[in-house]
C-alpha cells in the first residue's frame, strides 16, 4: 500500500519538498537548543512552559477530535461518514506524533525520557498521559491501517479490530481528559484550577479537530477527485458548530465565576489575557497576549456564524474560511493563552512575560511540518485506495 505515497503530480512533490525543508530547519534549530540547553528558548524561571507544551496541549485536542469522525460511523452506523472515518484516524496519528515530538523538544534531559517508564510513578499525571497518548497512537495506527488495508484488498476488515475501534472511542476522551488533569490538579495555579478544564478541552477539541479535517477535505476536493460528499460535510458543520458554541459557553462560565466572585486569583490571569495586567510596584502594564486573545474570541464567534451561514448557502469557500477561523481561534485560545497565561502572574504575584525565540519557533515549525508530512503521506495512501476501489466497484 505504501507505494501509493510515491506516485504523485508536481504539486504533490513540491508540497512534500517544502515540508521537508521546514523539517530540516527544525532539526537545525533543535541541534542548537540541544547544545546550548533550553535557555535557547524564551522560557524562564517564572514561565517554565512555553509554546512547546502549549502546542502539545492543543494537538492532543486535534487528536481527540478525530473521535467525532469515528464515532458516528462505527457506533451509529452513519454510513455517510464512511469516507472520512479513516481520515479522522490518520489525522489522530499525525497529531499524537506531533504531541510526542513537542514533549521531547521540551525536556531538559531528553536522553532520560525513558525514566518515566523505568521509574513508573502512578501519582503523576504525566505518567498516565504517557500511557494514554502512546496507547491512542497504537490504536489508531492499528485500526486505521488494518481497515484501509482490507479495503485495498477488497475485503471486509477482520473482526478482531472491532473491539480496538470501540476501545479507541473512550480512549480519545481519556487523552484529553488526562491532559487537562496535568493542569487542573495543581494547587496555586488559579487559572488552571477549575473542574471545567477537561470539558472545555474536549469541546474545543471536538471543534478544532473536525475543522482542520474539513479544511483538508475541501483542499482535496479541489486538487484530487476525492469528495467527502455534501451530506457528510453538512453533518460536520453541525458537529463543529455545536462544539465551538459549547467551548464559548464554558469560557463564559469561567468568566462569570471569576468576575462575579471577584476573587483576585481567579481574575488575574483573565485580566492578563484580555485586558493586560498592571504591576502595582512599577506601574508597568503587561499585555502581550491581549491582541491575540481578543482576536481569538472575535474569530471564534465570526467563524461559528459563518459556518452555519455557509451551509445554508452551500458555499465551500465560505465553509473553508469559517473552519480556518475556528481552528485559528482555538489554536490561540489553547495553543497560546491557556498554558502561557497560567504562569502570569506567578505564585508570588510577580509578572514575567514570555516571548518565544527564533530557535523555539524554528523547532515548532519543524514539528508542525512533520505532522503535515505524516498527514499528507497517509491521506495520499488513503484516498488513492478509496478512489481505486470506487472505480472498480
Amino acid at each position: 500500500m505504501l507505494e501509493k505515497a510515491l506516485k504523485g503530480n508536481v504539486g504533490y512533490w513540491a508540497w512534500i519538498l517544502c515540508l521537508l525543508g521546514i523539517m530540516g530547519v527544525g532539526v537545525i534549530c533543535y541541534a542548537v537548543q540541544f547544545n546550548y540547553g533550553l535557555g535557547a528558548t524564551g522560557m524562564s524561571r517564572d514561565v517554565t512552559w512555553g509554546i512547546y507544551i502549549s502546542q502539545f496541549t492543543f494537538l492532543v485536542g486535534v487528536a481527540a477530535g478525530g473521535l467525532m469522525l469515528v464515532l458516528p460511523y462505527y457506533l451509529h452506523h452513519y454510513k455517510d461518514f464512511g469516507r472520512i472515518t479513516i481520515l479522522g484516524e490518520f489525522m489522530a496519528i499525525a497529531a499524537v506524533a506531533m504531541c510526542l515530538l513537542f514533549i521531547m523538544a521540551d525536556l531538559g534531559q531528553p536522553m532520560r525520557a525513558l525514566n518515566v517508564v523505568f521509574h513508573p510513578t502512578p501519582n503523576s499525571m504525566l505518567f498516565y498521559d504517557m500511557i494514554v497518548l502512546n496507547g491512542y497512537l497504537f490504536l489508531n495506527v492499528v485500526c486505521g491501517w488494518v481497515v484501509l488495508h482490507s479495503e485495498y484488498k477488497g475485503i471486509k476488515y477482520p473482526n478482531w479490530v472491532k473491539p480496538l475501534i470501540y476501545l479507541s472511542i473512550p480512549w480519545a476522551v481519556s487523552i484529553h481528559t488526562v491532559t487537562a488533569f496535568l493542569y487542573c490538579g495543581l494547587p496555586g495555579r488559579h487559572f488552571w484550577l477549575t473542574a471545567i478544564l477537561a470539558p472545555r478541552f474536549l469541546a474545543s477539541a471536538f471543534a478544532a479537530g473536525p475543522a482542520l479535517l474539513m479544511v483538508i477535505a475541501l483542499i482535496m476536493k479541489q486538487t484530487t477527485k476525492f469528495n467527502v460528499g455534501r451530506v457528510a460535510q453538512d453533518k460536520l458543520v453541525t458537529i463543529i458548530g455545536y462544539a465551538a458554541i459549547l467551548n464559548f459557553f464554558f469560557l463564559g462560565c469561567e468568566i462569570f465565576v471569576a468576575y462575579y466572585s471577584q476573587i483576585p486569583g481567579h481574575m488575574h490571569t483573565l485580566d492578563y489575557l484580555f485586558f493586560g495586567l498592571t504591576d502595582h510596584a512599577t506601574g508597568e502594564v503587561y499585555n502581550n497576549l491581549v491582541p491575540f486573545m481578543r482576536a481569538s474570541v472575535i474569530m471564534g464567534f465570526a467563524g461559528i456564524a459563518l459556518l452555519f451561514f455557509s451551509r445554508s448557502q452551500k458555499s465551500d469557500s465560505m465553509l473553508a474560511i469559517s473552519c480556518i477561523l475556528i481552528f485559528v481561534s482555538f489554536w490561540i485560545d489553547k495553543g497560546l493563552g491557556l498554558v502561557l497565561g497560567g504562569f502570569v502572574p506567578n505564585g508570588m504575584e510577580q509578572i514575567t512575560e514570555y516571548i518565544p525565540t527564533g530557535i523555539e519557533i524554528g523547532v515548532t515549525a519543524g514539528i508542525w511540518a512533520t505532522g503535515f508530512f505524516i498527514i499528507t503521506v497517509l491521506y495520499k495512501i488513503a484516498i488513492s485506495v478509496k478512489l481505486e476501489n470506487e472505480k472498480t466497484a
Binding site: 524561571r45 531538559g108 534531559q109 501519582n123 496555586g188
Partner: protein
C-alpha cells in the same frame, strides 16, 4: 434473565465497585495513603472548610524537619539575610548567570506582599512593608511537586525533607508548575560554563556536586549536613542572633518546637493544603 436486565446488573455491579474503590484509589493517587507526619503538636484530624488552611494531619510519626524564620531579627540585622544566602549559594555551587531569565536560587529575599500574597497587606505597619522575608523550599508535608514528578526524581524523605535526584530528573519542569512557592529553579544553561571568561560558579566547592544543564534544583534543607549532626548553613550563618531556628517539628522539646509553642507564626499559603514546614515570625 433477559438481556437488558443482565446488562443493567452488570453496569450496577461495576458502578458499585467503582464507588467503593474510587476514594481509595484517589487516596493512592494523591499519596494520602501514607500517614501524614502531622504538624508540631498532635491534633485530631478535622475536615477543613473549603479554602481554610488544611486541618492538621494525624498524630505525627517519625521526624519532620522544619524551620522558623524570625523576620524581625533579620530586619534588625541588616546584611544578615545576604550572609545566609551567600553561605547557601557558595556552598551548593549555585550558579549566577547575571540575568533574571536563567536565574537559579535556593534562598532569597522577598517583600511581604510577594512572600505572603494571600495575606492582606492593606494598612500593615511600616515595618512589615519595609521588611524583606527570606524564602526557600518549604519542604511541604504534602508536597505537590512530589505528586507531579513523573520519575520520582523529587521525593520526600522519611525525615520530611523533599529531595532531588539530579541524575534521574528528565527536566520536564512539571514540579515547577506544581510548586506554589516558586521554590524550584531549572538549569536553562550549563551551570559549569562561563561567559566572557567569567565562570557562572564563582568559587567552586569541590565537596558538593555541580549540576548538569536541563535539570531542576532547589534547597535541600542541608540534608547532608543534618546527617552529620550539623545545622543547615543558613541557620548557622545567623549565629546567635536568634533569627532562625531549625529542628524536628515532631519533637516537642526541639528548639524549633519550643519557639513554635511560644510565638505566633504564619506559613506561606496555608490554604493550599501543602502544609509547609517553614514558619515565620512577623
Amino acid at each position: 434473565m433477559d438481556n437488558s436486565r443482565r446488562k443493567f446488573l452488570k453496569i450496577a455491579g461495576i458502578s458499585a465497585v467503582a464507588t467503593v474503590g474510587a476514594p481509595a484509589a484517589l487516596n493512592l493517587l494523591t499519596g494520602n495513603a501514607h500517614a501524614s507526619s502531622g504538624h508540631g503538636a498532635p491534633q485530631a484530624a478535622a475536615p477543613a472548610a473549603h479554602g481554610a488552611p488544611a486541618a492538621h494531619g494525624e498524630a505525627p510519626t517519625g521526624k519532620r524537619y522544619g524551620m522558623v524564620i524570625d523576620a524581625r531579627k533579620f530586619h534588625a540585622n541588616p546584611g544578615l539575610a545576604e550572609k545566609c544566602i551567600e553561605a547557601c549559594h557558595t556552598n551548593y555551587n549555585v550558579p549566577d548567570f547575571g540575568n533574571k531569565k536563567d536565574e537559579i536560587k535556593w534562598l532569597w529575599k522577598m517583600p511581604f506582599a510577594n512572600a505572603f500574597p494571600e495575606h492582606s497587606h492593606y494598612k500593615k505597619d511600616h515595618t512589615v512593608h519595609s521588611m524583606d522575608f527570606l524564602v526557600t523550599c518549604n519542604h511541604c508535608d504534602k508536597p505537590p511537586c512530589v505528586r507531579a514528578c513523573p520519575t520520582k526524581a523529587t521525593f520526600k524523605n522519611k525525615d520530611g525533607i523533599v529531595m532531588m535526584d539530579f541524575h534521574r530528573c528528565i527536566g520536564c519542569r512539571f514540579c515547577m508548575a506544581a510548586c506554589p512557592y516558586g521554590a524550584r529553579s531549572f538549569n536553562w544553561r550549563d551551570p559549569r560554563g562561563s561567559e566572557n571568561g567569567v565562570p557562572f560558579i564563582k568559587k567552586l566547592n569541590h565537596d558538593f556536586p555541580t549540576r548538569m544543564r536541563g535539570v531542576v534544583e532547589k534547597c535541600s534543607f542541608c540534608a547532608l549536613r543534618l546527617a552529620e549532626g550539623k545545622l543547615p548553613l543558613c541557620v548557622e550563618a545567623t549565629g546567635d542572633t536568634g533569627a532562625m531556628f531549625f529542628g524536628d517539628l515532631n519533637d516537642p522539646h526541639s528548639d524549633v518546637s519550643k519557639v513554635l509553642q511560644s510565638k505566633f507564626t504564619i506559613q506561606r499559603k496555608p490554604a493550599l493544603g501543602t502544609t509547609p514546614s517553614v514558619f515565620y515570625i512577623i
